[in-house]
Symmetry: C2
Subunit: 339 residues, 2 copies
DNA sequence: TTGTACGCGTTATCAA
DNA sequence: TTGATAACGCGTACAA
């Protein structure tokens, strides 16, 4: 690795002090036009680039934001990452991307590492609401913003889809299509999943149906989870005990379920209607495209990054900013009206 | 942001010099058990974490690797990123992830920024072989490793799929199934795409067929590209002029093509066989699952990261390491034998 | 075994 | 308008 020219090299060559060089770089104090020109030409000549980390040490800012995601490959999260990355890049910030792999221990270690790394702020998709990472961030007074996480109690900033509403409108939609018995394939125990389930129940009750008449199984997060869970259900209860409508807590599991149903020669939506959640890109691709509840993933990333940068810039201690985005029902062709 | 305790705080509280504290942290020189214990307890007590950037300035290492990808959301790249990220994380390195968005100008700026940021090395998926970024990296003697890029001439280290072979075996396979007229939907002008096309031509010629009898169109990179290109072709030449076999340079376009064929009531594979390239997760999901050429994306990321770390650690100037991974034909059910 | 003091590359404060 | 020089937080020769 070649040693990069330093501010001192520039200063020597331009026959000025490093202070003066620093001034022309930061365009703050006045430097005579003559010397400015001379210094600038030397900078050009040496292809001098000020070192960010040296500057960081001096002004206590690294222009780096740590990002902790649960799984980058998952399109849901990678869309969020893209939104974050674009905003940061456009604002001259770096993104230090890390992966918690849905593991709380990793998550904790990563937040500590990022703090050691002196990031200017952190965007985190927390595994759960009472995650220790969140506590550490609060304790160290690190500026952070949470994504895909709703926790009004703790009073930290977050952005998330209104998943209670999402679960609700999805279920309502199925009921309106004439279904009275629905299989709900639930997600894990994180707040978004719990909210969706809550929304499901709310819609059921509100429509005069009974929760106990519905089939709630899970917990599914991936394509394989979806496959496994529905396969087990069929093995245990027989293919006929699957109701005519299935609502899953995420598109990935829905795709897995569809695959199994297809193998059993059940047609979608003629035999069984299926509704997903998330609206990942893949849901709309195939011949049977998945109706689903859309989450604004990219937008969540964008907003999280923008809000965090605002916090960093205006140091004012403002009240907690808690943002819920309304989900939207996307009707494709995996659900058919029963009426 | 709370001010974190420094090594000096620890030193004062433990009534030793900062040098001694530094020693127990880095476990190098000998420190008496007594003082070691005392210092460690103070560290614990203050929850002291050495600042990476201060250390970085001192030892000229940031334990940070810059990564320049073309598009993080694209599953092909996000798998690579995951491979890279995991290796780096396990080795105590950070990943500074950036997105060139297939734009050479961005790419150039990003490499300069990463250099300014004093990264210890860079992993780049270059947009093309004679990219200026590559020149800059060479010039500044930055340690780097390229992914998804083959360029024997310039003599830099890279890992890529042997795409010439991939294009070849895919085409061979279709020919073996009895197809003599194949539509090849090509990728862009980057080296991988050119190699695939070369492989396609090689197989055609080797089989006694003629390249001019085949239909080569493109350039496709995305799902929408695939849709658009096949739609335009149909509009221009009529649906009947589509040959019975299509080979696409990537799975995304294949999915787009499949979607259009489906809308025209053409069945896959009964009416038209289709072969993809990449083997992204989505290809195997649906009822008609895509036969394809597999690229080891995750593995490429892993290897690139490992090799780069080796270069960083053993400073020896070793010869260029140029790695080609053999692609594998994955047979699912989108191609049918004509015989 | 421990401490002093310098260097890493900047910014910022004060004098000149 | 410019220049010394002290931070910033850490590692490390060298001295003690």
């Amino acid at each position: 690795m070649k040693k990069l020219p330093t501010i001192e090299d520039v200063a020597k060559k331009a026959k000025v002090s490093i202070a003066t060089v620093s001034r022309v770089i930061n365009k703050k104090d006045k430097v005579s036009k003559k010397t400015t020109a001379r210094i600038e030409s030397v900078i050009e000549e040496l292809d001098y680039q000020p070192s960010f980390i040296a500057r960081g040490l001096s002004i206590r800012k690294t222009f780096t934001i740590g990002v902790i995601m649960e799984d980058v490959v998952n399109p849901f999260f990678s869309q969020i990452v893209k939104g974050i990355g674009e905003v940061l890049q456009n604002n001259g910030y770096f993104m230090l991307l890390t992966n918690s792999e849905f593991n709380s221990n990793n998550e904790k270690k990563l937040t500590q590492l990022l703090i050691k790394q002196n990031v200017d702020g952190i965007i985190i998709a927390p595994i759960n609401n009472d995650s220790e990472s969140l506590r550490i961030l609060k304790e160290n007074e690190v500026l952070f913003f949470a994504v895909n996480c709703r926790a009004d109690i703790n009073g930290f900033d977050y952005i998330s889809t209104d998943n209670l509403l999402g679960g609700y409108i999805g279920t309502k939609y199925l009921i309106e299509q004439g279904y009275e018995k629905i299989m709900y394939i639930r997600g894990t125990d994180d707040q978004p999943s719990l909210d969706k389930l809550e929304g499901f129940k709310k819609a059921i009750i509100e429509s005069g149906l009974k929760v106990k008449d519905q089939i709630i199984i899970g917990k599914a997060k991936t394509y394989d989870d979806g496959k496994r869970i529905i396969e087990n259900f069929i093995k245990k209860n027989g293919i006929k005990s699957i109701p005519e409508a299935i609502f899953t807590a995420n598109d990935h599991s829905a795709l897995g379920v569809m695959r199994v149903l297809n193998d059993f020669n059940l047609r979608i939506p003629q035999d069984i209607s299926i509704l997903g959640y998330d609206d990942i890109d893949e849901s709309g691709l195939m011949n049977i495209s998945l109706s689903t509840i859309r989450q604004e993933k990219y937008k969540m990333g964008e907003i999280a990054a923008n809000e965090l940068l605002m916090k960093i810039r205006n140091k004012e201690e403002n009240v907690a900013k808690q943002i819920l985005i309304k989900p939207v029902l996307v009707i494709r062709n995996s659900v058919i009206s029963k009426k």
